[in-house]
Amino acid sequence: MNWLRRFLDAPPELTPRQAARLAAWRALPSPRLDQPVDASRYVVVDVESSGLDTARDRLIAIGAVAVTHGRIQLNDSHEIVLQQTQASDRDNILIHGIGGTVQREGTPPAEALLDFLEFLGKDPLIAFHVAFDQAMINRALRTFLGLRFEHAWLDLAYVAPALHPRLARRYRALDDWMGLFHISNYARHNALADALATAELLLALQPLLAARGAASFRDMKMLEQTWHRQSQPV
């Protein structure tokens, strides 16, 4: 992991163009988190990595789907595959299906991550089991762009059980909740397909959220935190 240490120790060198893109992203205004769902844009993400160790494993891909005004905008979706110096091992490839060649031919990490940031803007991020996605994305952004990524995240793994407390014990994984709402996935463990499934889960939770008076990102966040405090770590 020499390459990693090197980047951790010294901030990465960005080209003037990359630095300008990053500065432009930083300068974007942040949206208000109390505006209603049907006037907001959220970005639902899922990541694929070389393993489950957030400290050592590498980020391979991010899939992102925007939910605008309560609808998934199919064309407002994005997938980046980060170029890897070495492909992940065979078992791992079998999970996400991104082969060694594709991994090595991905976009150079700084470029890929800038693409991602520009796609994201400053809109809030939503995922299922945020801790993992957040850690992987944070580390990659710090490593390759020197960015301390402080962003609003919402975890559906806490929101969903908060709305369905009776199911909370049995329903843990994304697949459980997908089953409950008859959400299909055209390619499980493909970052974009999983992001789409997660976005569909967000849509399916909306009627219950509305019934609970949770009309904005901030309201959903409060629900998530309440459940987080009440429950064992999921």
Binding site: G70, R71, I72, N75, I80, L192, A193, E200
Partner: protein, 629 residues
Amino acid sequence: MSEAANSLIQATADYFSQFAPFDQMDAEHVLWLAQHATLGYFAKGEAVLSPDQSAPVPFVIIKTGVIQGEQGGARTPEGDAWLELHEGECFPLGALLADRPVTSVYRASSDVFCYLVPAADFLRLTRLSPAFYDFCTRRIANLLEQSKHLIQAGYSRASAEQQPMSSNLAAVIRRHPVTCPPDASIKEALQLMQEHGVGAMVAVENHIPRGILTLHDVLSRVVLAEADLSHPVIGIMSTQLTTLPPHAPAHEAALAMAKQGIRHVLVTDNGRLAGVVSEKDLFNLQRVGLSRISNAIRHAATLDLLKQCAQDIQQLARNMLAQGVAAEQLTQIITTLNDLLTTRIIELERQANPIQEIEFCWLALGSEGRFEQTLNTDQDNGIIFAPQAGQDPVALREVLLPFARRINLALAECGFPLCGGDVMASNPKWCLSLEEWQGTFDNWIYHGAPMDLLHSTIFFDFRPLYGAAHLGMSLREWLQQAAPKNSRFLHQLAVNALRNRPPLGMVRDFVTGDDHTVDLKLNGITPFVDAARIFSLAVGGAQTNTLERLREIATPLNIKPRDIDAYCEAFLFIQLLRLRLHHAQNERGQPLTNRVDPDTLNTLDRRILKEVFRQARKLQTKLGLDYQV
């Protein structure tokens, strides 16, 4: 957009492409659609579209779940869902094309994920994609076309190398006709036939056909007649020629062969011979030929031979179905052959047991009267007779009844079961003089008791089949005058007809009984037949065929030709489905029924069946409005 994002768009496009009409569209247009779609969620009970949303409304394609259309306003029959939409189905085409709000509430009857496309993009897509445009404007017609292709594909494996009966004769002609001058010798003509290996020789003068000689004729006219081979061939040729233009559809040639008992039809273009179409060209049949059956019927000397013919009719129908003959032509051909069969039975009966000179006419009733016979048709028939001055109708009836009884039994032996309701010529109630028939009909129209109404649905579809046709025609003319005058009677018929609702379901696609089936005849055919009859009676129409009736009422009742076409297509589809069902049952040696489990249909047919029921509802709605039911 990055290349990677395309995987989601591509997956969405792939998903669309499983369903009609997207499966018929160019890949780039489906991709375009996916790029312009958003995905939304509606919880059970939520309205997806409703009339109070102002236009433009979005185009909706269902991803998962069920959406139900509820008819708004006072006309709702007890909150019936009038349509139910499932995965892959799209709506509301009418509202989008007309840029108006929807007229019904579309409500999620389960949790629904659906794709939503802005109206502007929908309209752009209709301009981009001809296939999509076609679908939106000719919805049922299009689905039917696809279904027909499927049927043909399915059957063509069984019998290869066939000409679809819808193709025109120009496409059926296989070679230049082999011809000779009329004054060629018989020997020369036969040699030419031998050299070219053809079954028919046509004599032409300046390309104008003058006569035809077939191999079949050779035996009787040349060999057995010991004809002088040096004589001009024209002398032994058939000179009553049946000709059709090249653009005539193949089934017309088939019908001509059936009616006239011939094996060859000449194709002429402005009088000039363009080709010869043989029965073999039309049907790649090993055993059963159209003209062979009709000739066999005409010449059958015993009931046993006729029984064989009746079986051949069924086999023929199967072959024609395999060739994609449309339901209208198919039922027409079956009816034509059954008419011949009935005629022959009556002729044989008259030979065996001569009855005194009574002027009478055998009436076909019910589906036979409407030219809509399929394979498991009960016999429905009657007799109309004309007593001469001084003759007593009762005495004539005494003579006719045993005669009719023997005919009914013979028909039963040929596979037309005796009518359970005893609607047969051997029933003294249905063997009447013209005057008595008028009195009976008049009574029904005046009283309109439940039994009267039921009878009128069978008897008012009468047509003359054998004998003194003018008697049947006189009765028809009388009915044309009498029926429109009594609006109360028509109202009662409408009330009766509307008791039978197409089985569109609230929860599933279809309302099915305990056995999980719908009745194609009762639920599918009858609503069209009943409505067409009532409308036809109301306008004083003369037709008995449902399609003809529908076409006949369009102008007087101010129904759009487009709607009439949709009704006719719906009716024909369900007839076709019924014919296919009966054949399948026949093949498996099962008794014929009209009940079908919708789950056994392919998705396309299931959708069309729903569309058919929707059209039936629409026609019934008109009936209900016109007669304030």
